[in-house]
């Protein structure tokens, strides 16, 4: 009996081992496969007389070569690397768009100002003015184009979040199902089917590529949770996630967990790791600030250029028109805020920009918490700074970081909140509205003319309004413009120097009525502010009496009786004083000035800051990707070196088991030969 049996057991064991080995070879390239090893044990021994003789071998176990610690590390680093890669893929696209020398904002800003420069050096040349308008169009188109690329990326992220959520749901479903199968298999035989375990580990790893999860094994069953412990899989149960428009801003999708019992949890702020984590992080960390930053440059460009043009006179001798769209148009004011879903009131919040130099690139959350006083708004900035509580009914309305808030329609209720993005739509909304080149205001509104009867050496600097015109001022500005047109000229007549060295002057309106007087010190620069009572178009004094003022610096030594008249500059077709002021905007610090008016940067400076910020993020993302990539490789190598198949090793084993098989066959042959020797000898 025994020899044949022993031979057979060896043969079986060799065959089994060869099968496992073949399976290893066949699965050398299967993702998540852990190589298997056979374990043999010696069969029971039989007592023959005083000795015990073994009775062959049994294939005791097919063991899965697996190290849980290494696998967990591998899975964690998968999540980190997925996050970093998703971030880098996105950021490198906008880095390229923004830093391109020929298509970036800086180039078109420079060409716009070059066109202003050319037009300013030939103010009556309509062709040069037309070129300036064309360049303005190019500028606003480029803002629109870059803005649309950035918003497209926002859309793409929304789409990616949706499809990734579906994949996550498939994976969590299969993990739950595997949990169930494993539980059943274990329950009956108390052995673990290696392929199920491998599949489940691979599913968790794939899940980690999409979303950072923690898997905890208990009694052979995986519990998978994400974020700060929100459960995705519990035993054979799983919860789906879905990508839905977020509550505060419907243009940005967030991830919502559909927890058992129908409750929905917003995971947007807690997810980290995996592609989803990377996309969410990229959106809040790089994309939204970049959109806001670009919008801020666009809003500021439109505002400062329009304001400056509003100070001057065009070729027709009229006050200038705006070149770019009004930053505070009704639609722009409404677009800057979004009521949170679930607000009880139907109030809509209008956001009016008052001072572009104070704008930031943050978003704000405005909530009405005081049920006793719904004019009190609590403002929280997206960098976490509590801006305070503002009374929206105050006159003038409080200015928060350069903008004001007002309930435009409907009414708010306690608990309502709004997301305010003052600059997010800036680059999208900017457009060139002026088409008539003669309406570009290059001339200054006021003009000084010394009387030709003057004998002294008195001189004066060109008059300039003490307070610039507010192009957003509405009726007040219109009245002021009419006033400036109709209340001039003003004549300054110098008297005889007094004994104390000063020289008096009198100011008369066009009808010779005195409107003021003062003294200068001859031979020095004397800054004189002249207040002019305003008149309406019929020439009558405005009721109630209003006045405007302008400044000039009187120098030299005027003689007694010398006069200078300051008038409305209706005929100065080639006056380029306002155009030169416009040019100054190229280098003037107009963005991000501190409360006291210091600091800040120019338009191109702000753009280069944006470019370098995004560039730095792209560079950091690159470093991050290679770092997490290296970590992933190391962990993967560690795991694979234990669990993956080495064909050479298998080849060696194959030879070993072939020889083992041959040897076992020889035992059977020996048994047969022994048996035939016995038969033949009979």
């Amino acid at each position: 009996m025994s020899l044949l049996n022993i031979g057979m057991s060896g043969l079986n064991a060799a065959q089994g081992s060869l099968s496992v080995l073949s399976n290893n070879i066949a699965n050398a390239n299967t993702a998540g496969y852990s190589r298997q090893q056979t374990t043999q044990s010696a069969n029971a021994v039989n007592q023959f007389g005083g000795v015990y003789i073994g009775s062959g071998t049994t294939l005791a176990d097919v063991r899965r070569v697996y190290n849980e610690f290494l696998d967990t590390a591998y899975q964690n680093s998968t999540a980190l690397n997925g996050d970093a890669k998703a971030y880098q893929d996105q950021v490198s696209a906008i880095d390229k768009t923004l830093s391109d020398k020929t298509t970036g904002m800086s180039a078109v800003l420079s060409s716009f100002f070059a066109a202003v420069q050319t037009a300013a050096s030939n103010p009556s040349d309509v062709t040069a003015r037309q070129v300036m308008i064309t360049n303005a169009q190019t500028l606003s188109n480029r803002f629109n184009a870059i803005s649309s690329q950035l918003s497209q990326q926002k859309e793409t992220i929304n789409g990616q979040l949706t499809s990734m959520s579906d994949q996550v749901n498939q994976l969590t479903a299969s993990i739950a199902s595997l949990n169930k199968q494993i539980n059943q298999a274990q329950g009956s035989t108390n052995t673990t089917p290696a392929n199920l375990l491998d599949s489940r580990a691979e599913a968790v790893r794939s899940l980690n590529e999409l979303i950072g999860v923690t898997a905890v094994e208990k009694n052979g069953v995986f519990s998978v949770s994400t974020g700060s412990g929100q459960s995705l899989v519990l035993g054979d149960q799983f919860s789906t996630i879905s990508a839905v428009p977020s509550r505060g801003d419907t243009s940005q999708y967030t991830i919502e967990l559909n927890a058992p019992g129908g409750t929905k949890l917003d995971l947007g702020n807690v997810i980290s790791g995996g592609s989803i984590g990377g996309l969410l992080r990229y959106r809040s960390d790089a994309l939204i600030p970049a959109i806001n930053d670009l919008g801020r440059i666009a809003v500021t460009t439109a505002d400062v250029v329009n304001s400056q043009l509003g100070q001057g006179l065009d070729l027709n001798g009229e006050f200038g028109s705006s070149l770019f769209t009004d930053i505070n148009s009704a639609s722009a004011v409404a677009l800057r805020s979004q009521a949170a879903q679930g607000n009880l009131g139907n109030g809509a919040l209008g956001v009016t920009i008052k001072d572009t130099s104070k704008l930031t690139n943050y978003d704000y959350k405005v909530s009405f918490n005081d049920s006793t006083d719904l004019t009190k708004a609590t403002v929280l900035r997206s960098d976490g700074k509590a801006m305070g509580v503002y009374d929206l009914s105050a006159t003038p309305p409080p200015v928060i970081d350069g903008f004001t808030l007002a309930v435009k329609s409907g009414a708010v209720q306690a608990g309502d909140s709004f997301k305010v993005s003052p600059t997010a739509n800036g680059a999208k909304e900017i457009g060139t509205v002026l088409t008539d080149p003669t309406k570009l205001a290059f001339a200054a509104p006021l003009l000084g003319e010394a009387s030709k009867t003057n004998q002294g050496t008195g001189n004066f600097t060109p008059p300039a309004l003490t307070v610039p015109l507010d192009i957003q001022g509405g009726a007040a500005t219109a009245q002021l413009r009419v006033g400036i047109e109709n209340s001039m000229p003003v004549k300054m007549v110098f008297g005889k120097p007094a004994a104390d060295g000063t020289q008096p002057y009198k100011l008369n309106d066009s009808q010779g009525n005195p409107i003021g007087s003062g003294t200068i010190v001859p031979g020095q620069g004397n800054k004189v502010t002249i207040n002019v009572p305003m008149r309406d178009a019929s020439g009558a004094l405005v009721v109630p009496a209003t006045s405007f003022s302008f400044d000039t610096t009187v120098g030299g030594v005027p003689a007694d009786g010398d006069s200078t008249s300051f008038s409305f500059n209706a005929g100065g077709k080639s006056d380029n004083r306002n155009a030169l002021q416009l040019l100054n905007l190229q280098t003037k610090a107009t963005i991000g000035t501190a409360a006291d008016g210091t600091g800040g940067t120019s338009l191109v400076g702000a753009n280069s800051k944006l470019v370098s910020t995004v560039g730095a993020k792209a560079a950091a993302a690159g470093t991050d990707t290679s770092a997490t990539g290296a970590l992933l490789t190391a962990n993967k190598n560690a795991r694979n070196s234990v669990s993956q198949v080495n064909l050479d090793e298998e080849a060696g084993d194959m030879i070993k088991f072939q020889q083992y098989y041959t040897a076992s066959s020889q035992i059977i042959k020996a048994a047969q030969e022994t048996f035939s020797t016995l038969i033949n000898s009979l």
């Binding site: 420079s110 003057n454 009786g561 100065g572 280069s608 470019v611």
Partner: protein, 534 residues
Amino acid sequence: MRISTQQYFETSSTKYSNNYSGVVKAQDQASSGVRVQTAADDPVAAARLLMLQQQKDMLTQYNGNITSLKDKLTNEESVLGAISDAMQRATELALRAGGSVSDADRRSIASEVGAIEDQVLGLLNSKDSSGNYLFSGSKTQTPPYTRNNDGTYSYQGDETPLSLQVSNTLTINAGDTGKTVLEGAANSGRTQAPWLAPVPQTVPPTVNDNKVALSAGLVTSSADYSNKFADGQPYKLTFTSSTQFKVEDKNGTDITSEIPGNGTFDASKEGSSSVALRGVKFDITLKLGDDVAPGAPSDALVKDRTFSLESKPDTFSVSRTPSNASNAQLTGARVSNQTDYASTFPTNSGAIIKFTSATAYEVYAQPYTTDSKTIATGDTGGGTTVTAAGVTFDVSAGPPQPGDQFSVGANTQKTQNALDTLGQLRHALELPADGNPAATVKLKDVLDTSIANLANSTSQIVNVRGSIGARGQALTIQSDENASIGIANTSTMSDLANIDMGEAAINLSLQQTMLQASQLAFVKISQLSLFNKM
């Protein structure tokens, strides 16, 4: 360490693709020469590059402005040179006219002066290559000088020359206005010395026989004129003999001692027969006739003749609009209220008087448009005087009809532009003066004044030309500075953005070697499989 087969292949392929992308990047940098392809390559350098690029663009623009400024200034300089030459010629002609005796000679000189006048007007109304007037300030579509009906000239431009930026901090005027070129020239002939009929009538004739003549006076010192002469005028000069005179100011105070020579003169000697009173020089000419012996007879003839030495009042040119319904004329314009005149009258542009009825009138500043506002209103009350902004006119051939308009230009005596000087000179030369002592005196006054005023104008143009030269020099300096900033800018930009070619080449060949090595190693090692040996 145990290495799985898949791990080996994976590692190899990762290493290979890393090496490959390294080679591609090295090749890219070497062939483009640019190190910073996107901001991610060097965020700080990228930001600086954008700012430097802006500076570079601005420098290009400034250089364009400098070129166009130089062009404009050269153009202006040549026009001013031609004007100077013309005035030089006019001065020569005026000097010649002073020496020549016959009316015919003077008439031929007058026609030449007229030609110069036209030439100077043409030069002042020159246009640049874009068709803009050179000297009208910002009113480039308005000719700077126009000739009025009465032969005077008015400046129509403003005082705002075009200025261009040539650096961040420097703007330079691209031209000068007629105001600075011509308008401010002081008038040397702003005084007059009319003969005063003696009261009561005594020995000297009741009409001016011009035997004793006093020139209208030349201002020799503007400062003395403004500070002293103007205060005391009108002065009364009374001859006490044929060698002595006394001068009293408006208060009757004898100020003879202020005058060099203390009231003595010698009419027979050139240079010692003038009255230098407070910055103004009046020449005394005695033409008593050959039959009057020196000494007592002469003294008797000269004694008690009196002259008033005074500033010329501002004059006004009035023209009636041809479409006026009536034939009314406004004449005899004079300043009646100095304060109103100074505070209200638009001296530069002139005024329009518009009758709204036979007696009521409104005053507007020129240019008159339908939107113009009145600067004064008044009513003749049926009388014959109109007073507008401190100026009184006599109405003749009235009454005016509603809608009648008169334009009034002020002509100040304090300054005189060269065109007016030339016009005045031409006019004076055209009038016959031979054998007419009064006309001769007047002609001499005009010639003296013209020569002095042409000199004033010329010196003003010289000043402007000097300023053009200074601007040209400033442009040259700025141009050099811009060039050196540009060079520094370019070199910084290339330092930041461009690759060191040597380094790039070395890097490229290093990357290449690494790629080759990994390829070779992969090929060799991947062949090693135990299965091959079985």
